[in-house]
């Protein structure tokens, strides 16, 4: 379990059938591990090895999808062994997104429950949640659904026992020690604390996706009165989230 803490330790390289290889840095969620995953991703993309179809960064691993008809597995493994041992190099400056959120009420029906569980007021939960700098560790589950690291540990809450069958688009939720920015409506066992008018995934907009692994995110609490205007702008294709690089 400690492997992810030791920058430079060799990751495990494992086959996922004949169409993918995964480089596993250990069963942990932490910023160092995430940085190593993203550094390996950049290095591998730069290497442009024939037969590599696409890569998917996760919390603690990088998945490399390959074309079994063209890839040279031995060359890929050798390259991954070299690149994977490198400690996380300082990355290019991440993009930082400022994401507006309406917390609580009809926008986040679990906010009061979360506050009660942690002996806080809903305002304290909002202050803690919107007071942290988050990093996108992984995009998965649904197109554009971002798993974030960096939540204040005081907000960690076990997932709901019975998942909801449908939560609205662009939900802000807490599941365990993680928080997320949703995209499309979907089932979810996470606690809904708010919603953002931002559309992380909108195929008819360019770019179709806003958040990528490695991006930083901060949340800004906004009033329900501001929702309609921002939501309409987002529906028309505006990003609504401020970005600085």
């Amino acid at each position: 379990m400690a492997i992810g803490d030791a920058a430079g330790a060799a990751p495990r390289i494992l086959d996922c059938g004949d169409t993918a290889v995964i480089v596993d840095f250990g069963n942990v969620i932490d910023p160092v591990t995430s940085a190593r995953v993203l550094a390996l991703d950049e290095a591998l993309v730069a290497a442009a090895l024939p037969g590599v179809v696409e890569t998917v960064p996760g919390y603690r691993s990088l998945m490399i999808h390959v074309d079994p008809g063209t890839v040279d597995h031995d060359a890929l493994y050798r390259l991954l062994e070299t690149l994977g041992r490198a400690p996380a190099a300082p990355r290019r400056v991440a993009r930082r997104w400022q994401v507006p959120v309406v917390y609580g009420g009809a926008f986040g029906e679990d906010l009061e429950d979360i506050a009660r569980r942690h002996d806080m007021t809903p305002d304290q939960v909002v202050r803690l949640h919107s007071g942290s700098l988050y990093r996108v560790y992984m995009v998965g589950f649904m197109p554009g659904f971002s798993y974030l690291g960096g939540m204040d540990p005081r907000l960690a809450t076990p997932r709901r026992e019975s998942p909801r069958l449908r939560v609205p688009a662009s939900a802000i939720a807490i599941g365990g020690a993680q928080t997320s920015v949703g995209s499309l409506p979907s089932p979810s066992g996470w606690h809904l604390i708010g919603r953002t008018p931002v559309r992380p995934f909108m195929p008819e907009r360019t770019p179709g996706f806003l958040f990528a692994p490695g991006d930083e995110i901060t949340f800004t609490a906004i009033s329900p009165a501001d929702w309609d205007e921002l939501d309409a702008a987002a529906a028309a294709g505006e990003r609504v989230a401020q970005v600085s690089a």
Partner: protein, 314 residues
Amino acid sequence: MTTLVVRKCAGFGTVQDAGRFGYRRFGVPVAGAMDRCALAVANTLVGNPPDAAAVELVLAGGRFVLADGPALVAVAGPGATLAVDGQTIPECQSARAAAGAEIAVGGARGGLFAYLAVSGGIAVPEVMGSRSVHARTGIGGAMLRAGERLPVGPSRGTAPMCLPGPAMPPEGGAEFRILAGPQFDEFEPQAGALLCSEPFSIDTQSDRMAYRLRGPALIHPGGHNIVSDGVVPGAIQVPGDMHPLVLMRDCQTTGGYPKIATVISADLPRLAQTRPGREIRFRMVARPEALAAARALRDWEQGLADALRPVAPR
């Protein structure tokens, strides 16, 4: 422009090609034809590239009308049938359909998925480089409905063709080859042995996203929730109820259950065509065998066009 009009499409008809690649890092599932071999046969018969977009039909088949122009049409899939204007077309043969022709596809009675290919390919707009429909997210469109009009691309071929001899790759029966999965070593030692020695059957609760398996419980002592990471179609993951499921083309891009094994890519189309209730077995192989099988399948696909013969006049 030639158009394929859906008259009747029972169940889960969708447009599928080889799938959507390059967007999995953003959580976009790959989707694509469940049986790429049958897709390749149907496409080759009408002069299309093997991975052109076609209509995938599940179980019951469907009825269509060709509008605004002629085309070659062909059907592939175990036991699937094709009739044009009431005339039954022999297996592994394409047929010329005039504008207004009625096209009836009988479902894949020997499997699950049938493919209706039209010369020129189904030309719905590409979304992120593919025409494959992922119904759960709405990417690429939705399930086909009666009345829907599918544009057909321009085509060169006009003469019906056939593929003599066995058009499908050699049958492997009910045995499927697997490679050890990324968490194989974390399962109880007997789990891997059970996976390869005991029969499993495909549960009715299966779809394009995953096939659930019935069989012995496979125990992962570290619990059945791991830190989520990437998954592939073919991955055999074991959730908390300890019964494995095989991820299929519509699977999500990441998953949080341990993966004991992965069905090799060459055997996945055949697994896709295996009906619920049928008994299946797994056999562990090493990577070279999986790669050889993948390359053999690719060569078979690429060789299909050379095997085409004109249909002999009656």
